[in-house]
């Protein structure tokens, strides 16, 4: 099953190839095995395999966000925390020797694991395929360092900084929309991103609900199968076989329905979820640019004031020059980033929609043949 990463043309460059071949779900943590193959000279070895936790990814993301140099780039969104609520409790109980996991719970856990591996993998691959991010020092440490990263992470300042950054983000929209935009490109982008971000957030939420309902239906097939088997026990042979056959049909239906729901989730819901976050990252870029513009405008005012007063003019001129430089740099790289972002988005949607549709057709055809086969058997009984 192809991942979103393939659509974004990641991992094409053989000089730095990353994947997550394995993940372990222990009591309350997930341990990802991050596997790197590289021909780059900046790395000490050609191949690495390290264990990383979700928090390590977040640390890496936050350090990148706070790097001034990357202000003009769309920072790949941080992967969300693995969601193992239900199964997590079960794992706890398992550890304490209490209960055992049912087949269904195990399958659900596997699905969650599949999802979370995909999204963590894509994050790393976005970094590795970007000319600037792949050279990031912390990124290299993340891939290379064969020990636990926990100590590095515990840098309180970084953590606090990250938290602060998140708080500030919510003021984005006001600042972004308030900008008097001269540049046509950015004006369009701003309007598009602001509208699109709310729409895609909504679509994600609705897709999530739809997928959940689908899984509920699959669960019901499971219960019906169980109830039919119970009823079969008390009957004479002929009817008993019939009931057992029906129970089998429902069990098979459940598997197909479950797979349909999972595939829809992986292709559609996850796609929407990912791009909701990516759109946010694009908005963050606009925000940083808007801030730079505001700084530039302020520096202009300060320069005028300085000129009037005849004091500290040189300093004010220098400040203004720097602000303009920064703004121009952000605008230039921002334009590139946003253009490639659109291309990336279109490719991803296309690939995933095609794959989702092909899978839906495949599963539906499976259902039909399963059902028709069963109908034949039941009729002939």
């Amino acid at each position: 099953m192809t991942s979103i990463s393939e659509d974004i043309d990641l991992n094409n460059d053989a000089s730095l190839v990353i994947d997550i071949p394995d993940a372990l779900c222990e009591r309350d943590k997930v341990k990802f095995t991050v596997h790197t193959k590289t021909t780059l000279s900046s790395f000490q070895k050609p191949e690495y395999s390290v264990q990383r936790q979700h928090e390590d990814f977040i640390w890496l993301h936050d350090t990148i966000v706070e790097t001034e140099e990357y202000a003009g780039l769309i920072i790949p969104p941080a992967p969300p925390k693995p969601d193992f609520e239900g199964p997590r409790e079960k794992m706890h109980k398992l550890g304490e020797g209490e209960s055992s996991m049912t087949k269904e719970e195990y399958a659900k856990m596997k699905q969650e694991l599949e999802k979370t591996v995909q999204v963590h993998e894509v994050f790393l691959q976005r970094l590795s395929s970007h000319p600037m991010f792949r050279k990031d020092r912390n990124f290299q440490i993340f891939l290379e360092y064969d020990q636990d990263l926990t100590v590095r992470r515990k840098n309180a300042k970084e953590m606090f900084g990250g938290f602060f950054k998140n708080m500030v983000k919510s003021a984005d929209e006001v600042l972004i929309s308030g900008v008097k935009e001269v540049d046509e490109f950015f004006e369009q982008e701003k309007n598009f991103l602001l509208d699109y971000s709310s729409k895609i957030k909504d679509a994600t939420a609705k897709a999530e609900k739809m997928t959940r309902s689908h899984k509920n239906v699959a669960d019901d097939y499971n219960h019906i199968s169980g109830a039919l088997n119970n009823t079969a026990a008390d009957n004479n042979t002929a009817f008993k076989k019939h009931l057992e056959k029906c129970a089998e049909v429902f069990e098979k239906l459940r598997k197909v329905e479950d797979r349909m729901a999972s595939d829809q989730e992986l292709k559609l819901t996850e796609l929407l979820r990912y791009y909701t976050r990516d759109i946010q990252a694009a908005k963050d870029l606009l925000y940083r640019r808007a801030r730079a513009l505001a700084d530039y405008e302020n520096s202009n005012k300060a320069l005028d004031k300085a000129r009037l007063k005849g004091k500290d003019v040189a300093q004010a001129e220098e400040n203004q020059k720097q602000c303009l430089q920064k703004f121009d740099k952000l605008s230039e790289s921002g334009k590139k980033e946003l253009t490639s972002f659109k291309a990336r988005r279109v490719v991803a949607f296309r690939k995933n929609l095609i794959e989702m549709t092909e899978l839906e057709i495949k599963h539906a055809k499976n259902s039909v043949s399963l059902l028709q086969g069963s109908i034949e058997i039941l009729k002939s009984n």
Partner: protein, 471 residues
Amino acid sequence: MESPEAARLSAEDISPSSNGPKAEPMLLDDDPDDLFAEATEEVSLDSPERQPILSDGPSPVITPVTPVMISSRADVFDRSPDQDEDEEENRDTFDIQISVSDPEKVGKDVCDSLSLCLQTSLSIFSRDEVCVKRRFSDFLGLHSKLASKYMHMGYIVPPAPEKSIVGMTKVKVGKEDLSSVEFVEKRRSALERYLLRTVKHPALLKDPDVLQFLESSELPRAVSTQALSGAGILRMVNKAADAVNKMTIKMNESDAWFEEKQQQFENLDVQLRKLHASVESLVCHRKELSVNTASFAKSAAMLGNSEDHTALSRALSQLAEVEEKIDQLHQDQACADFYLISELLGDYVRLITAVKGVFDQRMKTWAKCQDAQVMLQRKREAEAKLQHANKPDKLQQAKDEIREWEGKVQQGERDFEQISKNIRREVGRFEKDRVKDFRVVIIKYLESLVHTQQQMIKYWEAFLPEAKAIA
């Protein structure tokens, strides 16, 4: 059991009766059982097997309904049960179609008056095609009558549909209040199934109340049933017993069968309820899926509008259209889930209650028999005492009483035997029907699933080129 669609007749070519349903229903809605609780007792003594004995007694003055009942029953029950079995063999040529339609609102009840159309070639009906109007309370009234007449004899009388919509999920989608539309259809369908099940019962099909219900343009006022109670009691009191051989009640070996069957029905009750609950959950979740799919479709359309890449925007709009169509599929499938399986299971859960009731009746009958025996014993003891008391009139009276109670014991034993025989037959019929119904329904249901999936394939295959067209 016919599906709603199959059983429906277009009533257009059949002229409905010009008169609407008649007068006020007599509080039958509230506690139909109460009115007939007494009736049960007397009617048992009216049982057709004892017809010859009754004909001596005075026939009480009652409304026309009663004599009709008795004479027709004589017809039916002069035949041996074996003949009924034969009839059942021929049930494959059972030619009767009933449809319940045109629900009308009366007062607060959105589905109170309905048209009942019958199409048949069976000779017991006076016409090939009849259409009448009935109130919901009429159906309940019919069931009450049948229950009071037949249950104590061990016949499994199909239960009437419930008044309330317990267990039905109300889903509001859009501006329409679907719950009342669904309620009407649920009730209409339930009444249709109820009637079909009733006429499938060979004894009930010939019952004059049933025939009248199906054919008469107007039903007589329910008030007659009250009078019946009174007359029945009168008859019971005037009874004179015959001198028949003493019979001691033996515990027949067949009791093991009853014990086994009762346990089986207890188990079946639990299992069916569980299965029913699972299916109800499926209906609920599929309805939710439909709502959520529709909601997603709208959202996808909005996203498509917002998308600035033209080809992707078009594809998203088309995705929204596909999802809308799929939503409709889910709705239709939920209906199939409900009407094919869920309602059938609900019917069977209620039927099993009726079956258990019939087993109870047998125990009541046995208890009555035992009581009679105890009484007889006492009378014999009393007579023995009076033998030496030199009170000739009292002695004579005691002897009379002995004869009376001997008769009662005999009757009790006969009743017990009869009800046991009936139950065996009824249970056999029930099992056959249950298996047949299930087999038929499960295939219909799986076919509905096939249809849904085939439609899905069509929709997605149409969408695929649209997705590929994104450039």
